[in-house]
Symmetry: C2
Subunit: 509 residues, 2 copies
């Protein structure tokens, strides 16, 4: 709470933009809370069952099992599910018409999860959910899953997708149950669209939206993906960065060579790759040195800039939690994510540690992801990177080079990129944007953190650019959920407040 | 042969240093050749049996089986073996006194092999030897092992240690058999010392030599490790580089972080490591940029420099074989290996390829090996590297850093180094050096390639510096043996000529 007060104190301009003073939850949200308090074991139980289904995007059989389970969960709420087929993972769709409602909100989330590195999960397998009394990092110990009663909100449920993105799906469904139990109706028609290959880059989302434009049409899309603000305040994001991933392979000798006999004669691809990567970013400022990398960035409106300034700043606390002495670049984290980024997510060459052997490696590979902001196209950004690599003296190829190509080019790199997708942004100044801010703040009784851009990527450009519907994100899970890494987890207190905030979005004035 | 003629033409100075004109093998060597031609299946069979014993240095049980097998092989030649125990891998020792011989030559080789990455071996497991009609790279196909008869000298035997270092051991034993069959005696007393953890850095060699100084005393040590010159000429090396390995770990956040939410805010250890490695070597000249890296190097005598100049230069051919457009640095390969080197042998951070996930890695690791020349101490070279890393703004620690250390230092690296060992060099101008050159060249009837330094590392400083015995190397295996990498192999023709050249060293005048 301290943060919220600081925040109000520190920006008078922001204060003027606030809706009516906030005095506590609405009666509807109070009813939702009472329902949840009486049904915590049931809600967690449904999530645990769902998390037991492996859901890595490239295992289509497993994904289909998830889709069937999810369809059953909708059907049990009286929503007739439809599987929208794509040739890949099916989309699970459902809708509820509300008598007298004039507007429609489509809720989007994804039910697939990131790949798993089983060995780095502590104490259990990623699809065997485990409850702990606090986070692993805080020394959390295993807790048996209670069959009934209240759960400590600080308990954490560990499993792949516990946070990203199965928790929001369960929160939406629990919200429907809570409204029904209280005899309340949403104020808008509801549509639900759950995706099965978001972590694979949403290869079919544009196609599905195009094919089912009428079915999916809405006045607002609410995406429930992503982590909420570390402050614990309700969080709304009006944009998200796009992404494109790039793999760079630098070639050395055709096979690993003895480092003694050939060690300062045969070119070393690991070192060449290091030199290439080092050329891409300024070590002091953290700025990307690729020419034109920031060109075309769309700026923020005054309102958006003020909202960003008003957003809580707990960078110091987060640095501490992550064991970091200082950030890579100067500036507030939430401001920095309004810029495109270049991230080295993986390096491989030769062998290290117990497996190390004294060789000049044959290859060195770096995997990068480039985050994009509004105004920067994925292909354009990759082209800038390729031009930079060429500028460093490398011949750049797309395919595995043949012997002749190797013999012709002293510096040779293969660059392969994903299709990627662009950023999206919905203006905070639209009437529907103001309406959702009001609904969330008035119902929850709390000031929301309102971000022009989320740091992560969700392919919501499809809704804004293809379906042409304003789109915002309402993420609910804890920021320290180890999303995409080992030991992904959900803090239960975030699930509880998430139910409330997503219901609030169903109560648009 | 063309190379040999070129070589004589191009250096009159060198010609004057040659022994008497060379007109062909000595009668003794002719007898050895006849014996071998009649016993090829037997010789290869003994090697195949030996290669079937896994011999990675850290598997002590397996190593001990190798030692027992080797002891049996000596015993079958009438040499009573002794296992010199070390607490680690045992040394296998044997000797043969020759009536009237005044000098003693100790032959050294190692019976352990490098670790194996089974998945990168093509078509068989590394300890399941396979014969091919030529090299894999040349499209070699599998050949059944003949039970008798002549073998094509271009055939290759694939297995871990086929070249490094079991082939020379078999060559020495076959040489003894050949001399015995011809009723010939060596001109010197023979001692044999076979090591079992050379690939682990010979942690016990100094201790064994110290404990058994009298037993091991000799007038000359001949080491049979390493690849022979690509020209196919007999090769003598009078020194070898030392080595020390270094592991550098650069720290990022305590755990992998989502690259979208934290991607241009949390420092990226993979990029920091790349920047650090890039700072260590000039991309154009290939020179190491660590301060004082070349300081203390002992120079070459005129004779040594001339021998180096006279050595065949097939760099162009080797570049082609390895698919390289040009070397890292300008200069002849055999000259460059008279300098210390810095080699990045492995990189690991995050995940790549199908396993890639969109995270900021928690760690980035580089494994390096530093090759040393005479006059440069392993610890001193590591200290220079550590000073360089500090100079790049890193706090350098030896242990896994605690949270407080992480929070205090924006750039933090852990550096762990092996003990390593120094280079050795025996002057080519010693009488015993001249005698061995004469014995090899006159008996084989061929000009030898004489190298002041071998590029690879063998811990022979123990013989020159601890035992104080002049030491030279007579490597026999093909240079393209994939030593230390997957698909290690021995060209049989090199085993045949190796038997002859090692017997020549037993026939010192």
């Amino acid at each position: 709470m301290k943060k919220e007060i600081d925040l109000v104190h520190c920006s008078l301009a922001f204060l003027l933009l606030l809706p009516a003073p906030l005095f506590g939850q609405s009666a509807a949200i109070q009813a939702v809370r009472e329902y949840r308090e009486a049904h915590e074991a049931e809600i967690v139980g449904e999530l645990v069952g769902f998390l037991g289904l492996p859901n890595v995007a490239d295992d289509l059989d497993a994904i289909r099992e998830n889709a069937q389970a999810l369809a059953g969960m909708l059907r049990r709420r009286g929503i007739e599910p439809a599987l929208l087929e794509t040739g890949g993972a099916p989309y699970v769709y459902g809708e509820r018409k509300v008598a007298g409602a004039e507007r429609t909100v489509l809720f989007y989330a994804h039910y697939d999860g990131q790949p798993v590195d089983v060995e780095r999960w502590v104490g259990h397998r990623p699809f065997q959910p485990v409850l702990r009394d606090k986070s692993l990092e805080a020394g959390g110990r295993r807790v048996d899953l209670p069959a009934a009663g209240k759960f400590d909100p600080d308990w954490r449920l560990y499993a792949r997708s516990a946070a990203d993105d199965k928790a929001p799906i369960i929160a939406l469904l629990a919200g429907l149950d809570a409204l029904a139990a209280a005899g309340l109706e949403p104020t808008v028609n509801l549509k639900f669209l759950f995706e099965g290959d978001e972590e694979a880059g949403s290869p079919h989302l544009a196609e599905v939206v195009d094919a089912h434009a009428e079915l999916l049409h809405a006045d607002l899309v609410v995406a429930a993906d992503g982590p909420s603000d570390p402050s614990g305040l309700p969080t709304l994001y009006f944009g998200a960065r796009g992404i494109v991933s790039v793999q760079i392979t630098v070639y050395g000798p055709l096979r690993p060579l003895h480092s003694g006999h050939y060690g300062n004669w045969a070119p070393n691809p690991a070192l060449r790759l290091a030199q290439l990567l080092a050329s891409m970013k300024d070590p002091e400022s953290g700025k990307v040195l690729i020419a034109d990398f920031y060109d075309g960035m769309r700026g923020l409106s005054d309102f958006e800039r003020q909202a960003l300034e008003a957003a809580p700043d707990d960078d110091a606390e987060q640095l501490r939690a992550f064991g970091l002495a200082e950030p890579e670049a100067t500036g507030k984290r939430l401001a920095l994510i309004n810029e495109p980024s270049l991230n080295v997510r993986g390096l491989r060459s030769g062998w290290v540690g117990a497996e190390a052997r004294t060789i000049v490696p044959d290859l060195a590979v770096a995997d990068l992801d480039l985050r994009l902001v509004k105004g920067i196209d994925p292909r354009e950004q990759v082209a800038r990177l390729v031009a930079h690599v060429r500028g460093q003296g490398f011949e750049v190829v797309k395919e595995e080079p043949d012997l002749e190509t190797r013999l012709r080019h002293p510096r040779l790199a293969r660059i392969v990129s994903s299709d990627g997708y662009p950023a999206f942004r919905t203006s905070m100044d639209l009437a529907i944007s103001r309406a959702i801010i009001t609904a969330v703040e008035e119902n929850s009784g709390r000031t929301a953190v309102k971000l022009p851009t989320l740091g992560g990527s969700v392919p919501l450009y499809v809704f804004t650019d293809v379906l042409e519907v304003p789109t915002i994100g309402i993420p609910i899970v804890n920021h320290d959920n180890n999303q995409h890494g080992p030991n992904e987890n959900l803090r239960l207190g975030h699930l509880w407040s998430g139910i409330e905030v997503l219901v609030a979005a169903m109560l648009l004035d």
